[in-house]
Structures are given as C-alpha cells and as structure tokens.
C-alpha cells in the first residue's frame, strides 16, 4: 500500500497541471473565436 503514498500525489499533481493549463487558456480568451482559429491556419504569414 506504500505505493499509494506517491501515486496519489502524482495523480493529483498531473491532473492539477492539466486543470491549470485549461484555466490559463480560458483566461487568455483562446476559445473566443474557434471558427476564426480554424480558418486562420489556412493563411500564409506575409
């Protein structure tokens, strides 16, 4: 059972990192223009 002592914290930290990353993208308005983002990849940078 000792394995739980570091497995659980690892699981929490990894999940927490994902959560933090998601909240960061939210805060940066990265979901505001999904259609635009999908189309912009077709544009060449000039």
């Amino acid at each position: 059972m000792d394995v739980l002592l570091y497995l659980i914290p690892i699981a929490l930290v990894l999940g927490g990192a994902g959560l933090a990353a998601f909240l960061w993208t939210m805060k940066n308005n990265q979901y505001d223009d999904l259609d635009g983002a999908a189309n912009r990849i077709l544009l060449d940078d000039e």
């Binding site: 059972m1 659980i8 909240l23 635009g36």
Partner: protein, 769 residues
C-alpha cells in the same frame, strides 16, 4: 447613377483571369470568384453607401489609443479575415486589427483622433463588408462572464470528480478488514481534501441563486441542489471524523459536475438566442445626412426633429416621416403595405420612415421626430401586443415548482420516520434523510431540457434556422394554427423575369441598362442575365425608366406608356418595355414568385394537423389566388397592421395557439401578438427582431422543419422528465429504507444522467427535415 470607385490598395484585385476577383486566391478556369462569400462581398462593394459615423462608440484602450468594436456582416472564409485585417494594417496609424469570425466582430485600434475611425471603417465597408454599431452591451459580449465562470466551475468539478472516483473505487471494492482502518480513514480524509474546496468553488452558481430566491421568499431547483450538496458534505465530514463507514464526497462533487454541464448548456442556448436578438437590434440604429447651416452632417436617426432638412441618397432608408422638397424618385413601400412595386414620389409627396428611396437622391423636411413616425407607431403597437401576450411558463420551471416541495417532504418524513418510528439514533436518521436528498437531486432533470435544446438548436442552425429565444421551441411545439403573410413570406417578395417577347440580344441590351438601377424589376432583369454587360452612359428618369444612347439611337427601358407606341392599356402584370429608337418595343414580364416549395410545405403542414390562414395587406383577388394555388382555405386580405393584430387576438380568444409567419413592418405587431413567430431573413429588421425564430433561404420548408423539430424535442423533453420520475420512483424507496450506499448513489446518479443524455441524442439520429 453614382459611379463607385473602389478605394482598395489594389493588392487583392488582380486582373489575371485565374484568381478570385475579390480576394486574389487562385480559382479554377471559368470561375470569377473562389467562393460565394467573395462574390457577395464583391457585389456589395460596388454599392457601399455613404460612410456612416461609428467613431462615437470608440473607447480608449490601455495604450491610450482609440479602439472600436463593430459588427461585420458577410465574413465567409479565411480570405475575408485576411482582406479586412490586411486592409486595416496597411494604414500606419493602426495599432491592432482583429476579426472574430465566430461572433462576426471586428475590433481595431488606432493612434490619433477619434474621427479617424470613420475613415478606417469606411475602408472595410468599401471592401464589401457591411458594418454596424454594437450599440448595446449584450451584443458586444461573445462569451459572457457568467458562461466563463460556469466553464471554470465545470473544469474544477470534473477534475475533482475524476480524482475522487480514483479514491472511491478503492473504497467501494474493498472492505475495512482488507484495507485496514487507517487506510480507509486516509482515503476519507483525502476525499474531503479534494471535495471541500471543489464544492466551495464549483457550487457557487447554485448557492448564489438559492440564496437569492430564498431571500425573496420563493424556491427553485437550486435550493434542493444546494441543500443536498451541503448536507452531503457536512454529513461526510462528521462521518469521517467519527470513523464512519460511508462518505458521500464523490456523490456531492459528481452531482455538481453533471448539474454544471446542464447549467452551462442552458446558459449557452440562452446566450446565443440573446446575442442574435441583440445583434439584430443594433442593426436598427442608423444615421441620416442632415443639412445644418448649409453643411451636410450625419446625425443619429433618433436625434431627428421636425423641420430638419435631410438628404436621402438612392438606396438609403428614409430615416423619418417627411415631405419631399427637392428631387423625384421611386420609393419602395413594401415595408408599409407589402406592395412589390415601388411608388413614384416627387416634390410634395409624403414619405414614411423605414421605406427605401430607390432611384435618385431626394431632400425632405422632417414632419415628425423619429419617435413619432409611423414606424414608431407600429413599434408601440408591438409593445402593447407583447404585454398582452400571456407570459409563458417553461416546462422545466413548472416541473421545478412541483419537484422541490415533494423532495423536501420526503427528506423530512424519512428523518422523522427513522427517528420516531424506528427509534434510530438521530445521526442515523439524518444520514438516511440526507441520502434521500442526494439521490433525488435533479441531475437528470437539470440535464433533460438543456441537452435536448442544445441539440435541437444546433440542428436547426445547420438548416439556416436561428432561434432567438430559449423557449421558442417549446412554444412552437404547441401551435395548432399558422398564419402566413403573403408578400415576402409565401412569395419571395421580389419579382422574377418569367417571360415576354424578347430575344437574347434584347435581354443583353436591357440588362446593360438595368444594371444602373436599383428598381426591383431592373434587378430582376440583371439577375436573369448571365452574359457580359456593355458599358453605357445611362440616364435615369424616376417613375418612367432608363435611357441611353447607343450608336446615336436612343434606347429606352421602362414603363409601357413611356416606351412609346405600344398598343393596349396597362396590363396588371409586372412588366418592363425595351424600345430602340422608333422600333416597336419588346416586353419583359415579371411575377412575384411563390416560394418554390410552398405548396408542398403547406400540404405537409396540413398533414401534421395544422390549420393555415393567409393574412395579407394586398388586394383580395391576389390574396385569394395565391391562397387557392397553395391549398390554404382561408384568405383574409386588405388588412391594416392593426387589423392583423386584432385578428390574431381573436384567434387566441377562441383558444387557438397561433404561429405567425411574416416579414413586413405591417406584420410586426402581429408577430408580437402571436404565441410564437417566425420571419424569413429577408424580412425587415423590426420583424426579424420581434420574431422568435428567423429562417434563411428561398424555401418555406424551414417552417415545417422547425415545427417538426420542436415537436420532436418537446416529446424527448417529456420522455426525459418521465425517465427522471421513473428513476425517482425506484430510488426514493431504496433511500428511505436506508439501502443506498455511496456506490449505489454514484451508479444511480450517473446512470440516470447518461440515460437522459442518450435519449436526447435520439433527436440527432432522426434529424433532418
């Protein structure tokens, strides 16, 4: 006719044959444009009107530059984004320019004076994109802060629910003897550590709403939800502290997770509806060119007062009721009386706000302030009609008002039963009563309506049907009578060339003349003609027609009388005549065509058991003819807007549930008075704004499709309520009897939620009109 120069920088209008004429993207041989969007924008760019003043709405941003956010119409593809952004960035004083394609917004910032914004906006307009002011705040926000908060709450709750499940599975699959009491306690504390902050954070939307309704002495769905979550946590903490066997942290968090998803979907559907409503509203606000001390300035329409002298260019809307003092033109009155043909107007003619000046610019003095115009009268009539319409109570709200007291009564009875009758210690009695509250928590109910609604509105959107209010589908499902307007609703509202005695050469010549006019018949003629246009010096004669000199011969295109020696009197048909010098004139015949699938759609509507009625401002003979050809039994014609409104009121009094489909200003009060309303997207702004649903395209099928989807989704919502009730009938006795362990609670809750979601998805499977 004004010759509009295209003030582009020239980079994207290459003359090589194999690139799109609008955006310069290579196209296959034979095509002038890469896509329909470019073609539309290119066509629009040649009629970009006078610049409109937007800069009043500009705000200072953090860098101290002015920033302006505007709505853009007509963004179709990546090229549109690039065109607009590049055109703006090419200016040295632009500091930022960004197009948001999802919300159809453009925001840009510039250095220098506020007024510079108008010139910049005009650059975009001359590319062919229509801009409009986002005068109200609701239109501005794409994703509202409330929605963002919900997403964050969902993210946190989802993270916590996953990790709690990890711990809980261990607890469920093992016993205290196998895992040891210390490990179990560690797991309980760990659960508490994850769950408590999550509940405190993700539960806020529910707690806030529950507190505010309780303060006002009412109750809603959020009260039992908040109570269940808080009690579950409180009880679990006390169990953890006294080393008890069961904790319900995972149930509490999972509840929040599911309910938040439902809440978010609901907010999204409402937000979308609200956004499309307010976007339409902002398009209404316009400006007018006013003479002030000899100079022409643009003023907002709402600031116009009696006595002002206004210049209305060809193609512009007439901003206020007034009398023409200079110039002659033709006025499109279709908004007022539904007539397809424009009326001739000269000095002394009275014109009304909302009508369109077609052929040449006129000057008029304003008789009444815009707030007293005919248009405003109609708006006022609409407001009265709206107040009269009984407020609709949504199914979910009706369910909630029944649900809460029943569930709380069960909880209380369970506690009393175990404590007094079974003589159990109060902690045990409380435990059972709390599990009743947890397990009856309206997870399935909370998801039942929003999931169906989101799927239904998404499906309708794909067919070009835009829902403008959240409960529109529910109201439409109950409709038993449909009232149609004629012009623009059953018909397309614009004439089409259907015949005549002309040959290909005549058509080519006529189109070359007609291309210079905004008259509906001219437009119809050009639309029919696919070849090249010869460039001609064309003169427009309001009320008569167009003329040009070709090789010394005067060519005339216009009315029967004007085009000279033609036998016979005025025929009732819509027609144009083409005369070459003294030769006999040839005729082009037009008709306002009925939507191509109208009779099929009407027949299908009858099959659904719906009664159809035609209600038109047009002449009785015309209305009856159209009604008969479509199989509509009842045709009521020659009605004023007030009549339409009171006719609907009469129908409603007879107990009918009425759907009104209309497009004109004269329909607007009736649209407001009906139980549910639809408008084609070609309708005037006020009608679109009033209608619950706006549909696009040249077909009438969306009316049928919307009713079908509405009925099907209503059926699914009811089924979902049925499922939720059935689930409770099984779950409540178990909980009351004390058989519900955390495992049972988790399985039952997620099971019922999944069932409801899967049931909702059946809407998608049988989709399509």
């Amino acid at each position: 006719m004004e010759a509009t120069a295209l003030p582009n920088d020239g980079t994207h209008r290459r003359s090589t044959a194999l690139v799109c004429k609008h955006c310069g993207v290579p196209v296959s041989a034979g095509n002038a444009f890469c896509c329909a969007g470019c073609e539309a924008a290119y066509t629009a760019s040649s009629d970009a009107g006078a610049p409109v003043l937007f800069s009043a709405a500009a705000e200072k941003n953090e860098q101290g530059n002015f920033q302006l956010e505007l709505g853009v119409e007509g963004i179709h593809c990546a090229s549109c984004i690039r065109l607009i952004e590049n055109a703006l960035v090419a200016n040295d004083d632009i500091t930022a320019a960004r197009v948001n394609m999802s919300t159809e917004r453009l925001s840009f910032a510039w250095q220098g004076p506020r007024a510079r914004g108008d010139a910049l906006a005009h650059q975009v307009q001359s590319l062919g994109y229509k801009l409009y002011d986002l005068s109200n705040k609701a239109a501005k926000a794409g994703t509202t802060d409330a929605e963002k908060e919900l997403i964050k709450a969902i993210a946190v709750a989802g993270f916590a629910a996953g990790n709690l499940m990890l711990v809980s599975v261990g607890l469920w699959t093992s016993t205290a003897e196998a895992m040891g009491l210390a490990t179990r306690e560690l797991f309980h504390w760990l659960s508490a550590l994850i769950a408590l902050p999550t509940v405190a954070y993700s539960g806020r939307p529910f707690f806030r709403s529950a507190i505010s309704v309780l303060r006002s002495g009412h109750t809603n769905m959020d009260v039992p939800i908040s109570l269940a979550v808080i009690l579950a946590c409180g009880m679990s903490i006390s169990e953890t502290m006294r080393g008890g066997e069961h904790v319900y942290f995972d149930s509490a968090v999972m509840l929040l997770f599911f309910l938040l998803i439902g809440r978010y979907l609901d907010a999204r559907a409402k937000g979308k509806a609200r956004q499309s409503a307010s976007t339409l509203l902002s398009k209404l606000a316009g400006t007018a060119a006013v003479f002030e001390d000899g100079a022409l300035v643009r003023r907002p329409v709402k600031d116009l007062t009696g006595g002002m002298r206004v210049l209305v260019a060809a193609g512009e809307n007439i901003p206020a009721d007034g009398t023409i003092v200079k110039g002659e033109s033709e006025i499109d009155l279709s908004l007022i009386n539904g007539e397809t043909m424009p009326a001739y107007a000269e000095v002394g003619t009275q014109v009304f706000a909302g009508t369109v000046n077609l052929t040449s610019s006129i000057e008029l003095t304003v008789d009444k302030a815009s707030s007293k115009s005919l248009l405003s009268e109609i708006v006022r009539m609409m407001e009265v009609a709206e107040q009269g319409a009984a407020k609709y109570v949504r199914l979910a709200d009706r369910a909630a008002s029944l649900y809460t007291p029943v569930v709380h009564a069960f909880g209380a009875l369970t506690f009393l039963g175990w404590w007094l009758i079974m003589q159990a210690p109060w902690q045990v009695a409380l435990l059972h009563s709390v599990t009743v509250l947890i397990i009856t928590c309206p997870c399935a109910l909370g998801l039942a309506v929003p999931v169906v609604q989101v799927l239904a509105s998404g499906q309708l959107l794909k067919q070009g049907v835009l829902l403008k209010s959240g409960d529109a589908l529910e109201r439409i499902a109950g409709v038993d009578t449909i009232v149609f307007d004629k012009t623009g609703t059953l018909t397309l509202g614009k004439p089409e060339l259907i015949g005549g005695e002309y040959n290909g050469e005549d058509l080519a010549l006529a189109a070359s003349l007609a291309v210079h006019s905004r008259h509906p018949l001219s437009k119809a003629l050009v639309e029919k003609y696919a070849g090249d246009i010869t460039h001609l010096e064309v003169q427009e004669h309001p009320g008569k027609g167009l003329s040009a000199l070709v090789g010394g011969v005067e060519i005339k295109l216009g009315s029967r009388r004007w085009c000279g020696p033609v036998a016979g009197d005025d025929a009732p048909d819509l027609e144009l005549w083409l005369a070459r010098g003294d030769d006999t004139a040839v005729r082009f015949v037009f008709a306002d065509k009925v939507r191509s699938d109208a009779d099929h759609t009407i027949r299908q509507l009858h099959q659904l058991g719906l009664k159809t009625i035609l209600l038109s401002g047009d002449r009785q003979a015309t209305a009856t003819k159209v009604a008969r050809s479509l199989g509509i039994a009842e045709a009521i014609a020659e009605v004023t807007p007030t009549d339409k409104c009171s006719y609907l009121a009469g129908l409603k009094e007879k107990g009918k549930v009425v759907l009104m489909v209309g497009d004109g200003l004269n329909d607007a009060p009736a649209l407001a008075a009906a139980d549910a309303s639809m408008s084609p997207s070609t309708a005037i702004d006020i009608a679109q704004n009033t209608a619950d649903i706006v549909f696009q395209g040249e077909k009438l099928a969306p009316v049928l499709g919307t009713i079908r989807t509405a009925r099907r989704s209503n059926k699914l919502v009811r089924q979902n309520f049925g499922l939720a009730i059935a689930y409770n009938i099984i779950a409540i006795p178990l909980a009351v009897a004390g058989y519900v362990t955390p495992l049972v609670a988790a399985a039952a809750m997620s099971g019922s939620s999944l069932l409801v979601i899967l049931n909702a998805f059946r809407l998608k499977r049988k989709g399509g009109f």
